[in-house]
Every structure is written in C-alpha cells, then in structure tokens.
C-alpha cells in the first residue's frame, strides 16, 4: 500500500484541475461532490497506509530523477514514515470535513468554485509537503502552501483588509522562508544532497564540504536558519503577526490553515528534520525559548481580543508555541502528538465559530453576541467540547498532549519554560471560556432581528462539527497510559526513541488540570456570574496591561515604524539617487554636450567658402607640422 502514497496528493490535484476546467460557473453541488470525494478518497488511502505502516514500519523513499546539475541529480518523490502517515491521515480527515462545511458557509458566493479550487490546491500542497523525501521538495510545497494561504486569505479580494492581510501573510512567512531557503541551500552545498537520509547521515558524521565554519557552528547555523522558516509558517514570535490578520479569510480557510495545512507545516518540518536540530543543543535551546515565549505571549494577547476568530487564532499561536517548545526540549513524541490533537480541536473550534458567525450574519465581535446556546445548541455543545479540549481538561484530547509537553519541559530541567507553559495554560483556559460565556450565555447584545433569525446550520455544517467533537474527545487517549502510549510506539516506528520520553507524572497532570480549572473558574466569575467586573479591572489597576494586551503588545506598530517605514524610505532615497545622481550624470553628459554645441554651432555659418578657407589653413598647418616632424625640406 505504501507505494501508492502518491495517490493521496494526486486526488486533490485532480480535483483542482477538474474544477479549473469546469470553470468558475460550475454548479455548487458538482464542485462540492468532486472535492469532497477526492479528499475522502485521500483519507481512505491514508488510513490504509497508516495501518500498513503500523504493521510494517517506514518505507524507503520512492524517487525519480528531476534535474541534472553536472554530476549531481536532483530528484523528487515520496516516502512514508510513521510521522507523515499520521499527518496524511489528519490532513485528509480535516480537509474532508472543511470541504463539506464550506458548502454551507460559502453557499451562494459568486466565486464558490474558485474557492474550492484554491482549497484543493491548498490540500494538495500540504500533502505534497508531507510526503516529500527531500528538503528541496519540501521547500517547493512549502511555498505553494504559502501561495494558497495568500489566495484564500485574500479570497474576498475586494475588501482592502483582506488584501492587506493576504499580502502580510505571504510576505511575513516569506521572510521566514528565506531562512529556510538559505538553510537548505547551505545543506546542499555542505552535503551535496537534499535527501533526508543523506543529510541526516552527513549531520551525524559531521562531515561537511565547507571550510569557512566549524562543523558544530555550521549545524547550529543551519538548524536556526531552518527554524526561521518554521517560525514564519508556524507563526512563532516574532513572525506571528500574520496569523491573526489572516482571519480576514473565510472561516473554513482559517480552520484549514490553523489545524492542518499551513501552520502545521513549520512544526512538521522541525519534527521531520529533527536529527538536524538534535545535533545542535544550542539550536534546541533557541527553539525552546522561542516556543515558550510564543506560548505565553499569544496567550496574553488572547485574553482581551473581542473578535471570536482572533481569540481562537491567538490560541493557535499559543498552542504552536507549545509544540515548538516541546521540540526544543526534545519532547518529540509529545510535540507531534499535540500537533495531531490540536488539529482536531482547533478545526472544531474554528468550524464552530464559523457556524456562529454564519448564523448571525457574519458578525464576529463577541461583544455583540450572547445567549446563543438556545438558538445553536449543537454548535454550543461542540464549541464547549473544543474549549475543554483546548483548556486541557481530562479526558479531552488537549489534556493528554499538553500534559506531556509540560512534563517534557519540567524534566528537561528548564523550569522557566515549564512555568511559562503553566501560565499559558491558565490564560488559555480563561480566554477560551471567556469567548464561550460571552457567546453562548447571557443575553444577546446585538440587534434583536438578527437574534430572531439565528438558527442552527444545515447538516453539511453540523456533521463535521460532530465528527470533530468525537475526535477531540477520544484522540487524546491514543497516547495515554490507558492505551499504553500507543501513539509513541507508532511514531517511533518500532525503532529507537526519537528525542526523550518520560513516564507520566500523575501529580503534574493533576496540577495542570487544577490550573486549567482555575482559568475556567475565573472566566466564569467574570463573564457568567459577573461577580467580578471585567471592565472595572480593565479600566482600573490593570489598565496598562489591558491596553498592552488589547493592542497586541504593539508589535505591528513596532514593525511598521522599525522595518516597513525605513525600508520604504530607503527605497525612496535610492529612487531619488537613481533619478538624479545615476541618471543625473548621464543627463549631465547630454546637457554638457548640448550646451557646448549651443556655442559651437555658430561656427557652422553656411558659407562654403569659409569652410574651404578653414580647411585650407588646416591642411597647411598639417603639412607644416609633418614637414617639421621629418626635419624640413632638404
């Protein structure tokens, strides 16, 4: 079965091409049917491959020749490892549901078919990235994923904010991509190959064809460069700013970006190329610190945001921080496990949020929501499950994975990271339940009419919610002591352990649960029972912190002042120089010649006889000079 893995990305590609051929006026039903069937077929094949890998372990990569450069060959191909078999299954599963969900959400949009084209291309790119056997191919699909997010975030192109958000998403991730670009090119220069296996061998032996840097420093350099790429895609601080803005895209896109396709790519890359990072303790430390900072930073911002999607978006950034932190402390299994569980409950949260937004006419501000539980019971239930999973309440999925990350952080001896993680967990529980209480309980604070018309979405939207809820409940059990850590054994492919694995510490699990419950409790007091007035707090002693969080720590403004403005100014200055100095010198020559000729032209008086006289004098002078030169007449 493994040799058929190429089918998985092929399905969405074929679907994309079909939809492209059918054109933008294709019927909605046909469009959806093609897309969902393709994704579903991919999901089924993924499941088969998953079971195959489970039984037989990883396969060797299948490659074909792509380009010859002198004696070297660049190849493309695919491979199946436990990690990417897991990713394939998750991506296809969530994609199928998102495609289904979009039928309800995008119903009636003039560019419905185009939306599905982009989605299919997006899924194709992500699947292609996942099954890549070499870094070059990863980079190719990596960029394509970025392109698709650009297209989808800017799907409503006529909205200036959407256009700006799309551009920002592309450029900010591209800054990271250049890091990855340099990283893989350096790897090629040093090892002569892009293939994972060859690269890992070279990194283990520390034999590099590079002389301007010591092998150890080279490893750290390359690992950090590649991590910069992952930072861009996985929205790690300080390259996180694009992700919340990407909320301008349609909600199903957000679900796909946040759960399965775009942001997962960064974590996946670090996990897949883990031997490179493992070879450099320094790089791992940097990764852990960045992850920890991101986790707490985004959680703090999430506390005060009022846009339902933005809160969930910041929770994504925060959770990605967890995953990256886990990789930084070598908790490989915990990180990949959280990647999987997070995919389920985050897709769930987004789709549930989408369902809410859809029901109340595309309003996203939670200050104008409230009391929707009665109107949207199913959405409410599923959102609650997602929120519980995100908060890390047992037995929901997030509990098991988050617990292992905290464990890894603690055992690695880096207590700071552990404490950061705990605080972030508290904040996470607080803000997601703030959203829950403000949305589903209390009185509706928007227009009455909207509330009257609000109703539960159709089955194409609720079925994905229910399926994801089930996964958000049970997925965590895969790596619990109850199943004897089945996930770990699977992800290591029956071979050696990658990174570090620790036994479950029950006191830690209890502590994490208590912290999360405390967050929920505080949220309850503030937004449900109203025994603490949040506004009084925000305008009172905590006002500076509130403003800081509400304005996202002014990072965007800082970038604007510190980077965007100066670069544009440099551009203007250079353009000025180009126009008046570089071209100015050219014009100076031209003008000089012109002015000179303005004076000299009067010698051209049109009198032929004058010309003749001048010629005569000239000739005589020349003859005289020539005779003088040869020594006169003898």
């Amino acid at each position: 079965m493994v040799q058929n893995a190429w089918l998985i990305p092929l399905f969405p590609l074929v679907a994309y091409l079909l939809l492209f051929v059918l054109g933008r006026r294709a019927q909605e039903g046909i469009v959806t049917a093609i897309s969902v069937l393709a994704a579903l077929a991919g999901f089924i094949v993924s499941l088969l491959i998953l079971s195959d890998v489970h039984a037989n372990g990883a396969s060797a990569p299948y490659v074909f020749h792509w380009l010859t450069v002198g004696q070297n060959t660049l190849s493309m191909g695919f491979e199946v490892t436990p990690l990417n078999a897991m990713m394939l299954t998750v991506v296809t599963f969530i994609s199928t549901l998102v495609l289904l969900f979009s039928k309800g959400y995008l119903h009636g949009d003039a560019r419905y078919s185009v939306f599905y084209q982009y989605l299919n291309l997006f899924i194709f790119s992500m699947l292609g990235l996942v099954i890549s056997p070499n870094l070059l191919q990863v980079y190719i699909f990596w960029e394509l994923v970025g392109l698709c997010s650009f297209l989808l975030v800017g799907f409503w192109y006529f909205k200036p904010e959407a256009a700006a958000a799309a551009k920002k998403a592309f450029i900010v991730t591209r800054i990271g991509d250049v890091g990855l670009f340099i990283g893989i090119v350096l790897i090629y220069v040093a090892t002569g190959t892009f293939e994972y296996s060859g690269v890992f061998e070279a990194f283990e032996a520390k034999k590099f064809a590079i002389d301007w840097i010591t092998p150890d420093h080279f490893i750290t350099l390359v690992a950090i460069l590649m991590f910069i790429g992952a930072m861009g895609k996985s929205a790690q601080f300080p390259l996180h700013t694009w992700l919340p803005d990407a909320m301008e895209g349609p909600t199903p896109v957000s679900a796909l970006i946040h759960a399965a396709t775009m942001v997962a790519a960064g974590v996946y890359l670090v996990a897949r190329a883990f031997p490179i990072f493992e070879a450099s303790p320094d790089a791992l430390t940097v990764i852990g610190i960045i992850g920890g900072i991101t986790a707490i930073f985004a959680a703090l911002i999430g506390l005060t945001q009022n846009d339902i999607k933005r809160v969930v978006a910041y929770s994504t950034v925060s959770q990605l921080g967890y995953m990256v932190m886990a990789l930084g402390v070598s908790a490989y299994a915990a990180s990949t496990f959280h990647l999987m569980t997070h995919a389920f409950f985050k897709a769930l949260l987004f789709l549930a949020a989408g369902s809410v937004i859809h029901a109340i006419h595309h309003n996203q501000d939670i200050r104008f929501m409230g009391g929707l539980w009665k109107k949207l019971p199913l959405t409410g239930w599923t959102f609650l499950i997602g929120a519980l999973a995100l908060s890390g309440i047992p037995p929901f999925a997030g509990f098991w994975s988050k617990d292992e990350i905290l464990l890894g952080a603690l055992k690695s001896g880096n207590t700071t990271l552990f404490v950061l993680g705990l605080i972030a967990a508290f904040c996470t529980a607080f803000y997601i339940f703030r959203v829950f209480f403000m949305t589903f309980t209390g009185e509706f604070r928007g227009e009455k009419e909207v509330y009257e018309h609000a109703h539960e979405s159709g089955s194409v939207m609720t079925i994905p919610l229910v399926l994801l809820s089930i996964m958000a409940i049970v997925a965590g059990l895969l790596n619990s002591p109850l199943t004897d850590h089945a996930f770990e054994h699977f992800i290591f492919g029956g071979g050696e352990e990658i990174g570090k694995v620790y036994d479950t510490e029950w006191w830690l699990a209890g502590l994490a649960t208590v912290v999360a419950l405390a967050g929920i409790g505080l949220s309850y007091l503030m937004y449900k029972s109203k025994s603490i007035n949040p506004e009084a707090l925000a305008n009172g002693p905590l006002r500076p912190f509130y403003q800081l969080s509400l304005n996202k720590f002014y990072v965007d403004e800082l970038y604007h002042v510190a980077i965007v403005k100066p670069v544009v100014w440099i551009g203007h200055i250079l353009n000025f120089i180009d126009k008046w100095v570089v071209d100015g010198i050219v014009h100076l020559f031209g003008e000089g010649t012109y002015i000179g000729s303005l004076g000299l032209k009067y010698s051209q008086n049109g009198q032929v006889q004058t010309y003749g006289l001048v010629t005569l004098i000239g000739a005589l002078l020349l003859i005289g000079a020539a005779m003088y030169a040869v020594g006169g007449v003898k």
Binding site: R24, L144, G154, K167, I171, I175
Partner: protein
C-alpha cells in the same frame, strides 16, 4: 534541408521585411500577416531544430560555414579571415527558442499601429538581428547582427513610443552604441591575440576559444585576458542594464510600445548575458574567476538596489524594468560562482526572466490598452471587470517573485546553490531580493487587481481570444520549466559542464 535551416531562421524575417516593402502603405492587415508568417516560420524551424537537437553533445550542431571575407597579409604577415558561420549548441539553443517564441508573440501582441507597414519592417529587421546574435559563430558576424538590432530599435521607440520617445530613443542608441564599442574592442583584441597562436587572424569563435584554451601563458598573459574581460564586462553591464548603467532600461520600457517592450525585456537585453556566457565564461574563464568577487558584488548590488528602487515606482513598466534588473543580478551572482549549479542557474534565470518579462509586459500592455494607464495608483479592483487578465497577472507576478512550480524558482535556487558555495555572505545578502521581490510585486499586483473597483474601471472588457495565445503559451512554458526543469536543464547541462571542466572547478 537541415543544412540551411539556421540561415533560413536568421533571414526569413529579413525576407519578410523585404516583401513588406512592396505592400501598399494603405493596407493595415497585410503587414501584420506578413510579419506573423515571417516570425512563425522561424519558430517552426527552431522547433524542428529542437526536436533534432542532440543534448548529449557539447559541440556546435547544425553548423553552416562559408568563407566570406579573406584579406591576405591584413596584419603584417597574418591574413584576416571572416567567415559566415552559424551553429547551435546547448547554450544558444535556449536563447534561440526564447527568441523564436517571444518575437512571434510580439507580433501577435501588436495592436493597431499607425504606419503599420514601417513598424513591421523595422520589427522584422530587429528580429533578424536578434536571431543572428544568438546563432553566429563568428565574432564579426555577431557584431554585425548586434548593430542590426540597434538601428531598428531607434526607430521603433522613436516613432511609435510614448511622450518622451525622442529622448529615450536617443538614450537607447547612445547607451547601446557605447556597449558596441566595448564589445568591438574586446573582439578585435581577442582575434588579434588568437592570431598569435594560430597564425591566422580569424574571427571564428570556436577557433579563438581553442586558441585561448591551449595558448601558453607567455603568449597570452593573464593580465591581457583580464584587460579584455574588463572591457567586455563593462560593455555587458551596459548591454544588460546593470547598475550603474541601467537607466536606459526603465526609460525604454516606459516609452516603447508593448510588443517592443516584450522583445526588449524578453530577448534584446539577454544578449548581454549571452555574451557573458559565450565569450566571458567560454573564452576567458580565468579572467572571470579572477574578477569573481567583483562580479558577485555587482550582482548583489543589483539584486538589492533594483529591488529597493522597484518598490517605490509608480509606473508598472518602470517597476518591471527594475524587477528585471534585480533578477539579472542573480545571473551575475551565479556566473561569479563559476561552478555548475551557478552557471546553470544563470542560464535558467536569463531564460526565465525573458519569458516572464515577455508575459508581464504583455499583460501590462493589455491593461494599458483598456484603462489607458500603467500608473499603479490609478488602477484598482481589476479582478472584477477582467478576471482572466487579473488571474494571469497574478500568475506572472508569482512566477516573477520566484514561486516554486514556475521557472523563476528553479533559476533562483540553482544560482544560489552555486553562489553559496563560493560567496556565502554575499549570497545571503542577495537573498534579500527574494523578500523584496515579494513585497513590490504583490503590492503592485494587489493594487491593480484587488480592492474595490472604481467606477471608470467598471465594465472594461476582459481578454480577447487572440490575447489568450501569448498568455497561455508563455505561462505554459514558465510552468513547464518550473515543474520539469530537465527540459531546459538537459539542453544546457553538457555545454556548461564543458565550461566547468575547462576551469577545473
């Protein structure tokens, strides 16, 4: 048949120009038809050549060689031999195909012109010059063809250009005329030195290449080679519009009509790169290596400088001109690396930049035709009235900023794979261009096609049937090279390999 195919390719356009001389001036459609045939036939022949081309071979193929000018005792005891010889190898084949495609599409892209007959006559003469440059195996012949591109361009800009056409045409002529002087001096010096080895003052490229390769160090000193190369390199900098000799290019693109912009950006300015590969790397590899750092520095300056300047341009055509300069900087960087990946990346980038320039200038021309402007700030929301053109603009912009799956990416990564080996720090600075390209191209593209549609842009017509041909052909080629680069890589691989083995790197 095969024997004279190259001559046919070179002179069919000229024949077309001759025929056009007899077409009555009043008729508007006939000149275009003639021009179309006179460029389509070479395209077909180039296709035949491509099909029969043996990419496993390093030498020249389909050669034609005749004695042309023979002056006994022209220089002391050495006689001057100038031949009429044409040929293709793995290096010139991509350039030949590029010329064939872009010049044909240029005719298709030409809208109704006043004085159509004259326009096409000049255009066809220009095309002959372009073909000749890439196919000549004789330096003298090459130079003739190079000059043959100069004069038609002067009139094409000067008569059919924009509001500053006179000034820009003169600027173009003077700049490129200067470049010609440099090239001529270098050529004569090359031939003169080669004559010291072979005993005959020949202008034949192959003979000169051989002579330089096997000449003892005391006959052709390395300082002499470096001297020639500097002169040649200066000419290339002008020819190829590199900073600080680039200012003719934005002006030319801004003023020239669409089809001429396509040909200039697509083919004409690539002659400089071709000379750099053929003469610089081919005949004077040690000099290139000697000046490698200088070349790389100039390359990086161009990448970053042009990208920064492009960022603040108001006119699409000026922006694209600077974008092309920035891209060609990557070529310099790749050449400076003087290794397989770098050189191959340089050729890839040259071809890719040619195709992308052709496409982008065509699209901007189409937009100008509809909206009457190329000022980026005056456009907006074009996705709504013209989704097809907007879609192609998106694809072209993405290709130009180096999105994988299109030709720009593979060129960039190959060039950098070579460059990072030789100049890690400089190359790292050069990668700034990758980010900046995304910034200015996305900004301009979004400003044009995204956002709300203003009232006067509402209801403009989308692409016409005939406009699909250039767009689809160019996009198909760009994607083909991006997805399956071997189609271009296999052509150049062996020729580049032979260069690389010659320098022992």
């Amino acid at each position: 048949m095969m024997g004279n195919l190259l001559t046919l390719i070179v002179f069919l356009p000229l024949l077309g120009a001759l025929i056009l001389g007899f077409v009555p001036r009043s008729n508007d459609s006939q000149p275009k038809a003639v021009a179309m045939i006179a460029t389509l036939l070479p395209l077909l022949f180039a296709g035949i050549l491509y099909a029969n081309f043996d990419s496993g071979q390093t030498g020249m193929q389909f050669t034609e060689s005749h004695d042309w000018i023979h002056i006994a005792h022209a220089f002391q005891d050495k006689s001057l031999v100038i031949g009429y010889s044409l040929g293709v190898d793995g290096l010139s084949m991509p350039f030949l195909l590029l010329t064939a495609v872009v010049t044909f599409l240029g005719v298709l892209a030409t809208k109704h012109m006043h004085r159509a007959k004259e326009f096409y006559i000049w255009y066809l003469i220009l095309v002959t010059g372009l073909y000749g440059c890439f196919l000549s195996l004789d330096l003298f012949l090459f130079f003739l063809f190079l000059e043959m591109t100069l004069v038609p361009m002067y009139f094409l800009i000067g008569i059919w250009g924009g509001d500053r056409k006179g000034q820009v045409a003169t600027k173009f002529l003077i700049y490129r005329g200067l470049a010609s002087v440099g090239i001529l001096v270098a050529f004569v010096a090359l031939a003169y030195k080669a004559a010291m080895v072979t005993g005959v003052m020949t202008m034949d490229m192959i003979a000169i290449t051989d002579a330089f390769a096997k000449a003892p160090a005391d006959v052709i000193t390395s300082s002499f080679k470096q001297g020639i190369f500097l002169v040649l390199f200066l000419a290339i900098l002008i020819e190829e519009a590199f900073f600080p000799f680039h200012t003719w290019l934005p002006d030319t693109h801004e003023q020239a009509p669409t089809s001429i912009s396509m040909v200039v950006g697509g083919v004409l300015m690539k002659i400089g790169a071709y000379v750099l590969f053929r003469i610089g790397v081919g005949i004077l590899p040690d000099a290139v290596q000697y000046f490698a750092t200088l070349i790389a520095v100039i390359g990086v300056i161009n990448i970053v400088y042009a990208a920064l300047v492009a960022m603040v341009q108001r006119d699409w055509r000026r922006l694209l001109a600077f974008s092309a300069i920035s891209h060609m900087g990557v070529v310099l960087l790749g050449v400076a690396a003087m290794n397989q990946a770098g050189l191959q990346g340089g050729v890839f980038m040259t071809i890719s930049s040619g195709l992308l320039s052709g496409l982008l200038f065509f699209l901007i021309g189409a937009i100008k035709e509809r909206t009457g402007t190329t000022i980026i700030g005056a456009l907006g929301g074009l996705s709504k009235p013209m989704p097809i053109l907007a879609g192609f603009l998106l694809v072209a912009a993405l290709g130009s900023l180096g999105l994988p799956g299109m030709s720009g990416f593979i060129s960039e990564i190959l060039a950098f794979m070579g460059a990072f080996k030789a100049f890690p720090v400089l190359s790292a600075v050069g990668t700034l261009g990758i980010i900046l390209a995304a910034v200015y191209l996305l900004w301009a593209m979004q400003r044009t096609t995204y956002g709300p549609t203003t009232a006067q842009l509402e209801g403009l017509p989308d692409a016409r049937a005939v406009e699909y041909v250039p767009m689809v052909v160019l996009v198909a080629l760009i994607i083909l090279i991006g997805v399956y680069p071997s189609i271009l890589g296999d052509l150049v691989n062996h020729t580049i390999s032979s260069y690389v083995t010659r320098i022992g790197g």
